[in-house]
Each structure stands twice: as C-alpha cells, then as structure tokens.
Symmetry: C2
DNA sequence: ACAGCGATGTGAAACAAACTCATAATCCTA
DNA sequence: TAGGATTATGAGTTTGTTTCACATCGCTGT
C-alpha cells in the first residue's frame, strides 16, 4: 500500500471541506486530480474509503480510520518543520562539549548555566571520556566545542582564545615545601604528585615544568575528582598543581598553601576549538563570549579577596 | 518542505544499515538514488541531516530528530495497513445499528453481547434517534443494519426475516380491562395509552389495531424507557402494548395483567435490513444468525414459564 | 605518507507518477 | 424533471524519481 503524506492531507481536506470540489480548492489542485488520487488510494488500500452514494462524498468507516491517522501524523510533521526552522534560524542547535582539561568543569558549569537561560532550545551536553581524541571528534561532528590549551592548525577548525590562567602548586600547610615562596621542578623529585587521570602531556605541571626539566616525581596518583584531590592534599598524602580558578576556593583555608610554579609563575591560555562553519552561529558566539567573560569574574573575585 | 514516507524509511534504513550503500540494498534501490534523494531532502529541509566528513555517513543532530519522527510514524502506518487487511479479510468492520422499535433493546443487547465475543474487532454501535430515516441512512452507509417490522422493496437493500413476536396488551391488575380475556380496538377509546415517543405508524398498536379500526385513545403519553412504561402501567396511570419478549418479565408479577390483542392475537415479524453488499460479510451473516436465534431463546424461556 | 579500495556524489537519460484540461456521468434540489 | 452542482474519466503534459556510468572522496593498512 503506497500511502503518502499527500493522501493524508487529502483525507483531512475532504473531511473538512465536506466534498471533493471544495477540498480541491483548499489543496490548490484540480478536482480531477483529487478524484484520480483517491481512486488510486482506494485501489492501493483495497478498501472503500468514501461513501459515494451521497453526492458530496463522505468518509466511510475505513476513511475515518485513515483520518484518525492523518490527524495524528500531520501535527508531528508540522512540529518537525518547526524544529528545523529553529535550527535554520540558529535558535536551536547542538552544543556537545568535549573538555581536555578536567578542572574546566569548575568554570564551565556556571557558563552553561548562564547559556541555557538564553538558549533553552539548544541541546547542551558535556562529554568527558572523549578527551583523548577530542579534535578528530570535533571534525567528525561528534562534538561541537573542544576546550583545550594546545591550539593546532587544523583545516575547518577555529581556535578562539578564552582566558589566561595560572597553574598553581597546592600542598598541605604542614608540608615541608610550604615554607618556600615558590616551587621549582626539582622540588617535585621526591614528591607524590596527585593529578587527573589523563596523558601527562596534557597536564600543565608536566608540559610546562617537569618534562622540560627532565624531572620525574617520586610517584603519581591519579584521581578523577577535584574535590578528592584537594582532600588528599589536605591530609598530606601528596601535592598537586591546579589552575588558579580551582585553588581560589582553598586559598584562605589554613589547611592549604598555594605557591607559584617558578619564581615568575607560569601563565597558560585556554582555547575553544569550534568547527569554522559553526563560529558564525549565534548561540555559538554567545557561548564563546560567556566562556571568555564568566571565568574572569571568578578570577577577579579571587583577586579581590586576595587584596583584603 | 516536501517530506514523504519514502524519506522516513530512508532515514531509518540509513541509520540501521550504517551507511548509504547498505541502506540502498535494504530499500531495493540503487545507492545513487539514495544519494539523490537525501540530497534533495536536505535541500528541502534546509538543514544538514547527515555528517559527511566520515565515510560511512551518519545522521547529524537534525537527522536524529527526523529519525525520531520516523520511528514514531512508521509503526502507525503499519498498524493502519494491518487494520485495512483485517477489513479486507472481513475480520473487522463496522456494525452500526439503527432500531426502529424501541423495545428491541431488550433482545438486542444479549445478541450484541454474544456477537462481540466472536468479533472483537468489529466496531459495534447502536444509534437511536435515527429511527425516523433509518433506511435512507442505511443506503447512505450512515448505518449498517436496521431492525424494522416493515420491509420495503429498496434497491441495494436486503431484508432478512428475524423472528415473529406478538404485541401484547399490558395493564395494571386493578384495571377494569383486566377482567376481559382479550382486548379490542374499541377498548382503547377511553384509555390513556403509554407508548414510545415515535411516529404512531411505527407502533404496532396503531398500525395493526387502532388505525384500521379508526379508534383514537383518550390520550397518549410518550415515554422513552420500557422500565418507566411498566412503572406507569403498574400504578394504573395508563395501559400499554408491548412485544411479548418485553412482557415476559412481568407476566407472573401480580401487579400486571397481559392480554392478547383481539381474540386471535396479533402476530408480527421483525426484519433486519442490510445493504446487499454486506449480506455476504462473515460478521454480518453471523449477527443475523444470532438475531434470529437468541431472541427465540428468550421467548422459549417465556413459554416454558407459562406452562408451569 | 600513500596506495588501493570501498563508499558517496554527479549528470544525463529513462521511466513512472501526479496533475491538468476537457468533457462525460451522476446526483441533488427546486 | 430540468438545471446546477458534484464527481468520474481519458488523453496529454509536467514533474519528480530512478538508473547507469563514472567521478570523487575517505578510510585502512603498510
């Protein structure tokens, strides 16, 4: 049976118009076309869909069954077209984010909270676990935004700078290194380093400090959650290096000390990688703007507290 | 946007097959046709439905939206085709009944109860209120079966005899006429007659007795429900004439007397009118058979009680 | 990194289906 | 029962879909 949407619209129109001729007008086709159409449809269905004994023809029982289907399905189509229209106009879309840096959750959540208020129809998601191959996944449209601190030249991918941050040494206030004004690579040689469970090339402490200096810490303990890292550090089970937006929370907690890496400190820059096609999209540029400004507020808040 | 069922099937197939080429096999068309089709679809929708950066192409976010629609709609179509197949095979259908005689409810309900067990997929309904123009409504397929005691020669309509019955006079046992062994037309002249609210030509007491004799009762009170008629008769507010299958219930109730109309009694025959096209249908012949035999059981039950 | 293969895209032509026009047949109403 | 309204039919045109042949693009393994 070769049913088509046209047939559903026809059934509905005939029912509403109460006859072929009027229905034909509604559908902007000739009455002849409608007659041919419903004849073909009845042949396909093998069922009489109309009562022809009366002159403005009416739906038969089977016709009403089909009408029921039409009234169920046609609004679904309309809803789809609506969704697509929103997609086209940029009011809706997909924003699946892959983050290469674990600690980014800390500032990303507030950003997305803000974002969802403005773009309720955008499908927002964060996909951890993809961190290894985030950029290829971006190119394959498996995700739509990658947060990374290592920009690369990739065709079809645009890196936008977000903000600068400082990786900061954190230890228990009871820790021997707490007495130093800053820490250096050598200081890590006999330390237990607590870090996120990712490739060490992606950890600032390695890429910026230990690998260049050729220093290997005494041991590494990998922990998923930031809160747990801080817990372990507080109980002096090891030391860690975390971005400044994370340590601001513990800076005035007397259990911890925070120190710059090297005397000058280390500065890093976060980037958002987005497919070049998407940069123009309104919701995308908005989320990028939020990701540039919102974390700064957190850092500024931290700076203000410091001056007290 | 010119969506078609073909497109839904395509989306589903591409998703399940995981690529164009396999999907084309599933749909028994060439891969080229599919490529053209989805290209056209995307142009219509104005949205990218597929991710083409990877080789077996995959659904994009919008594509998944469309897939969701497909998985909602396609089963509905299948259900429709199923229903139509049942219609064709005669397993389902519509049985809307118009009854010209009010009292027929009494035997019709047991018949339909039995019928529904055998034909659960047939849409059964009783439509009172159509009693006036029942036969034209039958021809126009507004109803499918008419119960009547006045067969006519009508093109396309077949009358099948159901069973014979006897209109019986009913009165309170305190009523003066209770002393007569039978009643005649003249007896009604000073009676209040309680009847169903239908044209008097359709009431047996008029068509068979009063109209031929030119007798007009003192008054007529029209009442919808059989139970209410009996109530009024019992309290001696009037007399009535009801079919035997109705009075059997009150025959041995000492509040009532029942008497034949005329010494010989009156015998009437009920018919079922059905469109000739429908007579062959299995469920229709079954309901006719039930309507011939089930009421007889009630009458036989009555006769047995009488012999006690 | 590149070769080779498997998968997708494209253009022209064949094919199928839906529509229109003109007109016939039918029904409804006055 | 005549006239207007409604639906049916057949031929021809138009539109859209499919196929064929071939170009192009990505993935996979060495």
């Amino acid at each position: 049976m070769h049913l088509e949407f046209r047939h559903l619209k026809t059934i509905k129109a005939i029912h509403e118009a109460g006859g072929l001729a009027r229905a034909a007008d509604m559908l902007h086709i000739t009455q002849s076309a409608l007659s041919h159409q419903i004849k073909g449809l009845e042949a396909q269905a093998g069922v009489e869909l109309f009562v022809r004994r009366s002159k403005p023809l009416k739906l038969s029982a089977a016709g009403h069954r089909l009408l029921r289907l039409a009234e169920k399905i046609l609004p679904e189509i309309a809803a789809l077209e609506d969704d697509f229209a929103n997609l086209r106009s940029g009011k809706s879309g997909r924003l699946h984010i892959a983050i290469e840096c674990h600690a980014c959750f800390e500032w990303l959540f507030p950003v997305l909270e803000e974002f969802r208020k403005a773009w309720p129809d955008v499908d927002v998601d964060i996909r951890p676990g993809l961190s290894f191959d985030a950029l290829p996944a971006l190119q394959k449209e498996e995700v739509d935004l990658v947060v990374s601190s290592d920009p690369e030249k990739l065709p079809g991918v645009t890196f936008s700078p977000l903000f600068d941050y400082e990786p900061v040494f954190v230890a228990s206030s009871a820790h021997p290194l707490a007495s130093k004004p800053f820490v250096e690579a050598e200081d890590f040689r006999d330390q237990m380093l607590i870090s996120y469970p990712v490739d060490r090339a992606r950890l600032d402490v390695f890429s910026q400090l230990l690998i260049p200096a050729g220093v290997e810490p005494r041991g590494i303990r990998q922990v998923e959650l930031t809160a747990v890292i801080l817990l372990l550090v507080a109980s002096n089970r090891g030391v860690s290096v975390l971005p400044d937006w994370v340590v601001r929370e513990v800076r005035y907690n007397s259990d911890y000390v925070t120190r710059p890496l090297t005397k000058a400190g280390v500065t890093r820059r976060l980037y958002a990688a987005v497919r070049s096609d998407d940069v123009e999209k309104p919701f995308m540029s908005h989320v990028l703007q939020l990701a540039r400004t919102e974390p700064l507020k957190l850092q500024r808040q931290f700076a203000t507290e410091e001056q007290l």
